[in-house]
C-alpha cells in the first residue's frame, strides 16, 4: 500500500515537471551594475510572454565573460567589453549589445563645504596617482577659486573588489593621463598607487562619508539614490558637467558618431558640449550563431523590446537610456543573429 503511494507521488512529480517544461528557460549571467534594470526587464518581459523565463546570475562581469565562452550561460553581461584575446578564445563569434548607460562620479568629504567642487581629468589622475596630496594644492585652488579649501591631507578611497565601476573610472583616467595608462592601466581590478579600498559602492561611500578629507568614486545611480553630493568634471569640450541622466545620454549620443560596428567602444571623455566624460555602456553578450535557435529567437526579441519599450523603465531606476541613434545601429546588428 505504502509502495503504491510512493509510486503515485513519483508519477505526479514527473508529470508536473514535464508540464512545467513547456516554459522556455534561458540562463544568463554577468555584471552586477545593470542587475536592477535587467531584473525589471525580465519581469516585465515575462508578463508579456508568460512562457519565457529568463534567469540572470549577478556574479560580476568576469563571470559573464568566462561563462559565455564556456557556454554554461546563453548570454553574458559585462561592464567592460571583451578583449580580442577573450573573443578569439570563444567557440563562435560573440556580439556586444549596449543596453544601458552608467557613470562614475567623484564623491568627497570636506567638512563645512557648501558648493560642489570642480575637477578636471588630469587633476583627478594626479590625486589618484598620489601626486597631489593636500586639498589646498594650487591645482585644486585654481579650479575652485571661491572655495575655502583646508590644508588637510587627501585620503583616496577606491574599490577593493573588481568592478565595472572601477573599469569606467580607470578607463577615463587612462585616456586623459598617459602616466596613469603606463603606471596603472585599465581593468576591473588594478594596482592602486595610493588609497584604501572599500568593498562595493556602499564600502566606498561609507568610508568617504565617515573620513574627513577623503575622495572616492561611486556609480551615479548610487550617489543619486543615497543623496551623496559629488563634484563636476570638465569634459572634452571644456565645460564642467555635473553627472545626470541627461548628460550621460548626451555622452553616448556624441560618441555614436564614431561608433564601431561591434559597439566595443569606450565612451569616456566623449566629445560634445553637454556630455559627461565618465560615462560608459554596459553590454549584453550574445553568440551570432548559437546552437539553440529557439532561445536565440527569444533573446533577439527580448533585446529588441528592451532597446525600445524597455528603455522607459530606465529613468525610474536611475539608469540613463540609450540615445536613438545607438538603438538604430543596434537593431541592424541584432538582425544578423541567426535565429533559424
Amino acid at each position: 500500500m505504502k509502495r503504491m503511494m510512493y509510486c503515485a507521488v513519483g508519477v505526479a512529480a514527473l508529470m508536473g515537471a514535464t508540464l512545467s517544461a513547456q516554459k522556455v528557460r534561458i540562463n544568463g549571467g554577468g555584471a552586477t551594475f545593470p542587475y536592477p534594470i535587467y531584473s525589471k526587464w525580465f519581469a516585465e518581459y515575462n508578463k508579456l510572454h508568460p512562457d519565457v523565463e529568463i534567469n540572470y546570475q549577478s556574479q560580476g562581469s568576469g563571470f559573464g565573460k568566462t561563462q559565455i565562452v564556456k557556454k554554461t550561460v546563453f548570454f553574458g553581461a559585462s561592464d567592460g567589453p571583451m578583449t580580442p584575446d577573450e573573443m578569439t578564445a570563444a567557440p563562435g563569434k560573440i556580439l556586444h549589445f549596449p543596453m544601458v548607460l552608467g557613470a562614475d562620479v567623484p564623491v568627497y568629504n570636506i567638512p563645512g563645504l557648501k558648493n560642489a567642487l570642480q575637477f578636471t581629468g588630469p587633476l583627478l589622475a594626479d590625486i589618484f596617482l598620489g601626486k597631489i596630496t593636500k586639498w589646498d594644492d594650487p591645482a585644486i585652488k585654481k579650479l575652485n577659486p571661491s572655495v575655502n579649501l583646508p590644508g588637510t591631507d587627501i585620503i583616496v578611497v577606491h574599490r577593493s573588489d573588481g568592478s565595472g565601476t572601477t573599469y569606467i573610472w580607470v578607463d577615463y583616467l587612462s585616456k586623459i593621463s598617459p602616466e596613469w595608462k603606463k603606471r596603472v592601466g585599465v581593468s576591473t581590478s588594478v594596482n592602486w598607487p595610493v588609497g584604501v579600498g572599500g568593498k562595493g559602492n556602499e564600502g566606498v561611500s561609507g568610508l568617504v562619508t565617515q573620513t574627513p578629507g577623503s575622495i572616492g568614486y561611486v556609480e551615479l545611480i548610487y550617489a543619486l539614490q543615497n543623496h551623496i553630493s559629488y563634484g563636476s568634471v570638465q569634459n572634452m569640450a571644456g565645460k564642467f558637467v555635473t553627472a545626470s541622466i541627461d548628460s550621460v545620454t548626451a555622452a553616448a549620443a556624441a560618441a555614436a558618431k564614431s561608433m564601431p560596428a561591434d559597439f566595443r567602444v569606450s565612451i569616456t571623455n566623449a566629445p560634445g558640449e553637454g556630455a559627461y566624460p565618465i560615462s560608459s555602456f554596459t553590454w549584453l553578450l550574445l553568440y551570432q550563431a548559437p546552437q539553440d535557435k529557439a532561445q536565440a529567437k527569444i533573446m533577439s526579441d527580448f533585446v529588441k523590446w528592451a532597446l525600445t519599450d524597455g528603455q522607459k523603465y530606465c529613468k525610474d531606476l536611475g539608469y540613463a537610456p540609450l540615445p536613438q541613434n545607438v538603438v538604430d545601429m543596434e537593431m541592424k546588428a541584432l538582425a544578423t543573429i541567426k535565429t533559424s
Binding site: 560580476g60 568576469g62 568566462t66 592601466g185 594596482n191 584604501v196 579600498g197 568610508l207 565617515q210 573620513t211
Partner: protein, 349 residues
C-alpha cells in the same frame, strides 16, 4: 525476523559509514581541485609568489606576500587580545560563577558566535572604525614615533581588524576552554582543596592540568581568525602592503579572494587567486588539526591518570618522599613529575 534486523543493521552501518567517508572525500576533493586549478600560477611564479609584494592584475604580476603577512599579523594580534579575555570567561564560568549565572553567561558568550560575519563587518565599518579613528587621532605625539603606531589616522586598518577578529574568536576559545576545564577530574580539585589550596591556587592547578586542551582552544581560535573574511574586509582597508603599523590599512588572503574573485578574468589571474585559496585551505587545515590533537590529548591524559598522580611541578620538592607509597593507583612512578600527589604543604602557596 532476525534476518531482517541483521540486514537493517548492515544498511544502517554502511549508510552512515558512507556519509562519514563522503565528508573525508569532499575535503580531499576540495584540496585536489584547488591544487589543480592553481597550476598555471604555480608554474609561472613558483616560490617567488610568496616573496613579491606587487599585486597587479593589469600587467599580470602577482605577488602574495602582503596577504600572508596581513593574515598572520591580524590573526596573531587577535589571539593576543582574545586569549586572556576568553580564558577569563572560561575560568569565571567554570570555576567562580554561582550556578544561576552559568547558563545565561554561556548562552550570551555563544551568542557572539552566532552573529553573522557580515553583520560584524557592518558594525565594524559604522561603529568601530570611527571610534578607532578617534583613538588614532588622539595618540600622543611620542607614541606616533614608534613604528607600531605610525601612519595617518584612517580608522580602517590592522587595529580595527584585530579588534573585530578578537571579538569573533572569543566565543570559540572560551567554549572549548570551558569544556577542557570541566574535564579536569573532580579528584584533582578535591585533592588540591584538601591540601589547603586557595581558590586561585586550585584554578591554577586546573589550568596547568588542562594546559594542552587550552593550547588547543587557543589554536582553534587562531584557525577561525585565519579564515575570517567579510568582517575583516570591511575594516582592514584592503591595501596590499606589508606594514608593522597597527594604523596602516593592509590586506588578508581571505579578503582578497572575496573581493577580487568574481570579477577576475584571465586564466593567470584566476589561478593566482586560487593559489592563495589553496594556501589558506592548507593553513587552516593544519592549524585545526594541531588544535584538535591538543584537545584530544587532554582527554587521553585524563583517562590515563584517573584521579591519581597530581602532575604538578612544585618548588617544594621536599614533599616528594612520603607520597611514593601511593603507587597503588597504578600510575607508574616516573609520571609523577617533580611534585607528587599532595606537593604543597597546607596553607602556603
Amino acid at each position: 525476523m532476525s534476518k531482517k534486523t541483521r540486514s537493517d543493521e548492515m544498511v544502517f552501518r554502511v549508510g552512515t559509514g558512507v556519509f562519514a567517508v563522503f565528508v573525508v572525500l569532499l575535503v580531499a576533493a576540495i584540496g585536489v581541485e584547488l591544487w589543480r586549478q592553481s597550476q598555471l600560477s604555480i608554474a609561472r611564479f613558483g616560490w617567488q609568489f610568496w616573496q613579491t609584494d606587487t599585486w597587479n592584475p593589469v600587467s599580470g604580476e602577482f605577488g602574495a606576500r602582503p596577504f600572508i603577512w596581513g593574515t598572520l599579523y591580524s590573526s596573531i594580534l587577535a589571539l593576543l587580545v582574545a586569549t586572556p579575555i576568553a580564558l577569563g570567561i572560561a575560568i569565571y564560568i567554570s570555576e567562580l560563577a554561582p550556578s544561576w549565572q552559568q547558563r545565561p553567561l554561556v548562552f550570551l558568550t555563544e551568542l557572539l558566535a552566532a552573529i553573522p560575519s557580515i553583520v560584524y563587518g557592518i558594525w565594524g565599518m559604522f561603529v568601530l572604525v570611527p571610534f578607532v579613528r578617534q583613538l588614532e587621532i588622539g595618540t600622543p605625539a611620542w607614541m606616533k614615533t614608534i613604528p607600531l603606531f605610525s601612519g595617518p589616522p584612517y580608522g580602517v586598518g590592522m587595529l580595527s581588524a584585530a579588534i573585530i577578529l578578537s571579538i569573533m574568536v572569543i566565543p570559540f576559545t572560551s567554549s572549548v576552554a570551558r569544556e577542557v576545564l570541566k574535564a579536569v577530574p573532580a579528584a584533582q580539585r578535591e585533592g588540591a582543596y584538601a591540601l589547603g589550596a586557595t581558590r586561585w591556587e586550585a584554578i591554577r592547578m586546573a589550568l596547568f592540568y588542562a594546559r594542552t586542551g587550552i593550547v588547543g582552544a587557543v589554536m582553534l581560535g587562531f584557525g577561525r581568525a585565519l579564515g575570517e573574511t567579510m568582517a575583516v574586509t570591511m575594516v582592514i582597508g584592503n591595501t596590499p602592503q606589508m606594514s608593522a603599523s597597527l594604523y596602516a590599512p593592509q590586506y588578508t588572503m581571505a579578503a582578497v579572494l572575496a573581493n577580487e574573485f568574481t570579477e577576475a578574468a584571465g586564466a593567470l589571474y584566476i589561478n593566482a587567486l586560487i593559489e592563495i585559496g589553496l594556501v589558506l585551505f592548507a593553513m587552516t587545515l593544519i592549524v585545526n588539526t594541531i588544535s584538535r590533537a591538543f584537545i584530544w590529548s587532554l582527554g587521553r591524559q585524563t583517562r590515563r591518570a584517573p584521579g591519581g598522580g597530581l602532575r604538578m611541578t612544585s618548588e617544594r620538592a621536599s614533599a616528594r618522599e612520603p607520597r611514593e607509597r601511593s603507587g597503588a593507583t597504578g600510575v607508574p612512578a616516573r609520571e609523577r613529575v617533580g611534585g607528587s600527589g599532595g606537593a604543597k604543604p597546607p596553607g602556603k602557596s
